[in-house]
Symmetry: D2
Subunit: 443 residues, 4 copies
């Protein structure tokens, strides 16, 4: 019998964690942060010193007490990709389990960078497994990493092959046939698994209600080209902000920035963290084209120099796409750095506002500050890394799972995935709408 | 003294019409339909027999009585482009003026097609003026057509050169540096006019509140490629619906459709109308790649044949992107044709829902019908043809008008343009928020 | 074993129907219409001739094929109240079952009025059971009608007492402690049932996400007083539109209308239908204060006379609160009657827009017509008849059901009720999120 | 010639200030705070020490530099009522003018309380003028205070009687015919002024787009009764939060609270401030029924005692209706006080969320904290103090102003009032859409 506990991310978007019990082995998939709650307990981008207890009390990490009866059986912790809502709880909670961590090279590198950065230590061994490779955990469980596209490199679908069948964890993913870095999704592998028989599919439901195929990253790249090369930005600053983890996007920014004959500088701690991980794992080599400045004190000095040399000679890539008060962009806008905006400076938000009320308020606030100083805003230069309903449909058709477990959101989101499953002929007993803390048995 | 009357399109989106009086000459810019009101008085796609009086009573055309004192001075009627909300009232109202019509070859061709189609006649002479050409109307007025990008070919900014200065009518336009057909906007010409002195700029304010540059048509093209070539559509019908007037989009559809080795058929009256105008004016030559079927009776027969031959051998391009009950797609969805949907058929909406309550209701209804038959919907494969706030800013900087007259919407939209103008340093007396029926004098 | 099938109203708002199988007896609770789909197949307020097949094909009634295996076991059909989305399918579908209909006097009277009106016949016997009375159906099932408040009189919670426990059907209800007609909810009875043990509660989830207690009808009454007696309506027409079934609201309108010393006339078929049912069952005696005009032809004549006598002498209560094109108000607005609006006439919408896209479009259209004629609109003079989250919580605490089955909406609505149940400590196996056509077994 | 400068509140909701120049006299109407910006520069409810410069730099008060050329002509500063967005800037900016302050007794008392509280001093003399009284400022200007209803006591319409005609400042107001304290609006006076001739009406446009009459305070009172007396709150805490300035609402809360036989305590600085002003001016005598606790330290102690005695014996009225982090409710929710919530405690929000992104985020956050502790939320027990479109229409009909100046919001709001004026036959030259810093001359 296989049991699955929805530990986190089933009652909210964020702090993802799912535990799968196969015989006497428990595999934990993701231990993520709830970014909004986490930001309420942390404050400055430079200094973070938070305990696991703080995080648990503020619902910033999954409520692991719901698997306390399984605690001594956890053998493996697998972060599916390098986003903080999937990997960010590991530094705080992994140590509670006597279990290795298994991740792709990029995800491992990001995790190690976080640990170094936050001066945290964990006793768990971090094992690296390549995309499309296999790891034999025990007689009961074999783990396979299946290549998939998402908004950060080396994102994978985790396959847990068991005697009772395969469990697929596809949280998060996108079907991008025109990715700008990395390979296309491994459709052939998914089809083969479907033919052999998939017991359960745990799947990202963020946009299960959106009647679309999620547009390719190549669309965002074309938007970026349009806005960087197709507007009148002579003699103006160009400041771009995007997800630090989105290496593909950063590469496009660097490429178009170079065409403008401007010097490119990354300013911000999280940009440095992800860029370095990309560098270490051979995914990108920013260091030859880009100067990377990590800490606030150095950023302050660098911006002073930029102002002296002429800000129109630069493309500045900064943290702060959601208007976070601790970010580089916020501090620039709020005059905490010696940067002066001039009417007509370009601010490119290569992201969308992640629609939480805190982000909306922060973005409104930063935009107000920027507008007051005459900046021009270019918003929504972006396509999402999440699949939409028509991608979900293709996934279900490919892998033909017996059971579907919608994940990555509260019931109002996951119920959209359930409706898709019912529409495709699934029966009530094979579709499992879960909430944090709930557990089901299969077979 | 120059006087300007906001005849239509200043209290709503639609039925655009602006009258400019220069000495004793009045030039009318656009006479458009209000599509939603128009649809309430018309019914079937095949049969239309409506009088000017019906249209006036239902607010489907501009209330021309507000310039009745100018009626005998109207010398010229200039539709700025071929969209019905700019050109569609001409067949009904132009005859009330002893004035020529001046339009680009494509717009002229569309206008003539409408007249033939609707079995209407007008006494006005239709003169054709090429993009970037000049027409001397009188001592007082010289007309120039300035090349601009929009979502239908040969869209122009109309320049009225007068002794008091130039009046620019930029309603509608987009600054697209990567257009997929036609030339880029003529920035150099706009800059020159700005240097000579522009008296007034009448400008499309639809998205004046949107803090963006409107993405290029090349972005929509990439989205279309993604959805046509990047989804699993083997053995399924592919049905695409888009704006009939959007020749660039249609060309992209045809191109990607050809790569799928499917036969491409256009089904619907308005598609035929615009495709033929594009053909006549050398903009596109659909007839070699595409079969075009115009009338409902023939569409019915053709679809029957398609069902027999195998719908998976076709890409069908149809009218009905807003769910209009008289459209081809609606009749297919509602089983008025002998077309049978199969689970998994692809319906691609290469448009967005124009957000009127009628369209929203129609689209919801057609989508419900399509879903019930198992079709897969791909929505919002689109970028708009309208400029957004950052494009407006560039336009104002380029042409440096003395006066700004925001157009193409009610006060809640046009006031966003006024705010931009104030933000750029304009004074209250140079920004003219107008409502239908209001008149201002300049100098 | 008790089995429950969610026949209708679990995938949409409308066409409610739930079937409960107790041993060999099936009790059907409600057979309602889906109003929006129904309106698509019907057209004129005066003439309706639709078959059950039309209604089934258009999803206007529940898909009863999902209980075709139970068809010969249906013993009783119980409409919980007189709204069409609960009772309106009975004239078309009840005849398929060899079963009596059991309803309160008012609901029975409405049902009979519909049958007469539509010239329909059903073979089923209509039995009348008073509120708070008990009916012994068989050894297996005893039916009890529990008094509850809602927006139409004699609404009940149906209790099915079985050997396995009691099943409560509370769909729709409101906890109104200050009702303007009828009694308060029978809290004591509910508490007693809770103490004895309720097996399952099937409950209206429309507003399960709304963190409120739904305001009392006495609040709407105060709003109505404010707008009828507290605005300057001298010499102006006063036209009020509300739900025809909302007898309490109608009584308030009549009462305040009388204070204005105006003659009150009800104009419209559905108003007549419900008013007559209220009269027959002694709930209201409109006929002494109000003139009721039913059919279009007579309404036309009456309005002509009203115009002659002076419309400022009347309060006209009309159908058309959702802007329905077949309603009296629409025909008045659209000049199909000989009624002339004058600037400043009062139109009071004592309702809210039921938020379907069709209603929104219809309301926008009728409001546009009314505005064009200078009428003053007073919208949203209303409180809902549905319970909200804090009412649901009280209900659950009162009756302490073992199982909860959220009803009256798609999963995105019912999942809000599930969340409430989980919040209150319910376990996953006792909360049943269902979709149309699904069946569960209890015990 | 009369000149009017829109100093603040014409580009945003908040920081209201209008300056009227009559000959050599300038009268300033309101000097308010922009609450959201103000909160960004202040922090704790107990400690505030902000300079005028801070407030100006952060756009928390009107940009008075736009009337710097009039500075030495300002004779009178008149706050129209006691809300902080109208009166809150006076402590910081009034001193810049050699001018008296003229206000009703209640508004004066509030102003004095603020000065004491914030330990601020101003050199201006505060004159008190009763509602419906007249003050002769000079030969040029006579000031009259006209009684009107709003959501705080002794709100007035300011009439400036000049040789060129009367200027009415009706910002904010409501037409409430069933007020729960104070008198009805003085319609007769308004009608008389209209007959004599009103030159200009400056009017609150907040809800000019809302097609309604704003419901009376008596409606909110009924809602409050319903929720306080009509829910099961035995053995539970009852905590109510509302606008501190809303004395009528507070009186209703106290009245219904008393019926519950609970002790009533007001907890929070701003509640104390307004309650004391009401007491001093004889509007309410809370002190006999209510215990008022002002400062955080005392609140902490009082809550501890309440917990000991049994919180179910109290109705606690607290600050924090918008979730403000410095408020009593927030500190209770966030466990900064020794108050413990128990599942089922009642929290009544007798307000609506003022829809700024900061408020929305704060409310979501406080509600999340409260939900986590099991509290029951009762939201939106409220009617607004602002007039809606149908009230505006009555106002315009009553006073028949020559000029209309929509106030209290950005162009997208004020343009709705302009549309109403145009609909009522006003010409473009008599309707003045203004933005902060703009100035117009009348006649």
């Amino acid at each position: 019998m296989i049991e699955i506990t929805a530990v986190g991310g089933y009652s909210e978007v964020g702090r993802n964690m799912t535990a799968v019990k196969i015989g006497n082995d428990v595999v934990v998939l993701d231990i993520g942060l709830h970014m909004e709650n986490y930001v309420h307990v942390s404050n400055d981008e430079d200094i973070v010193k938070i305990s696991a207890e703080d995080l648990l009390a503020s619902d910033s990490v999954p409520r692991i007490e719901t698997i306390s009866d399984w605690a001594d059986k956890v053998r493996l912790i697998i972060p599916s990709h390098a986003h903080l809502d999937h990997v960010g709880g590991i530094p705080y909670l992994a140590g509670r389990y006597n279990a290795d961590i298994l991740a792709t090279p990029f995800t491992s590198a990001v995790l190690k960078n976080i640990l170094t950065e936050e001066k945290l230590r964990i006793r768990n061994h971090i094992r690296t497994l390549n995309v499309n490779a296999v790891y034999q955990q025990s007689d009961e469980v074999k783990v396979e990493f299946i290549n998939i596209t998402h908004s950060t490199p080396q994102s994978i679908i985790v396959a847990l092959h068991t005697k009772q069948g395969t469990i697929l964890y596809a949280n998060d993913f996108k079907f991008d046939l025109y990715p700008t870095i990395g390979k296309k999704p491994d459709f052939e592998k998914l089809r083969q698994l479907g033919q052999k028989g998939v017991l359960a599919l745990i799947m990202d439901s963020t946009y299960a209600g959106l009647r679309q195929k999620m547009p390719s990253e190549s669309v965002a790249r074309q938007m970026l080209k349009d806005v960087l090369l197709g507007t009148d930005n002579r003699n103006k600053a160009i400041i771009v902000t995007t997800f630090a983890s989105h290496i593909a996007r950063l590469k496009s920014i660097v490429e178009f920035g170079s065409k403008l004959n401007r010097k490119i500088v990354f300013l911000g701690r999280s940009l440095a963290k992800y860029a370095s991980a990309a560098e270490k794992t051979g995914i990108a080599s920013f260091s030859k084209d880009v100067e990377i400045v990590k800490y606030s004190s150095k950023i302050k000095r660098r911006l002073k120099k930029i102002m002296k040399e002429g800000k129109e000679k630069y493309v500045l890539v900064v943290t702060g796409h959601q208007g976070e008060p601790a970010s580089t962009l916020y501090k620039m806008a709020n005059n905490q750095f010696d940067f002066k905006f001039t009417a007509g400076d370009h601010i490119i938000f290569s992201c969308r506002v992640i629609p939480t009320s805190t982000n909306i308020a922060n973005r409104e606030n930063i935009e107000k500050l920027l507008n007051r100083q005459g900046a021009r805003l270019f918003r929504d230069i972006h396509t999402s890394g999440h699949s939409a309903r028509e991608d979900h449909r293709e996934m279900i058709e490919l892998v033909k799972p017996k059971h579907i477990i919608p994940a990555h959101g509260p019931l109002e989101m996951t119920s959209k995935m359930a409706e898709l499953a019912y529409e495709m002929g699934y029966k009530r007993e094979n579709v499992h709408l879960m909430k944090n803390g709930q557990r089901i048995s299969l077979e």
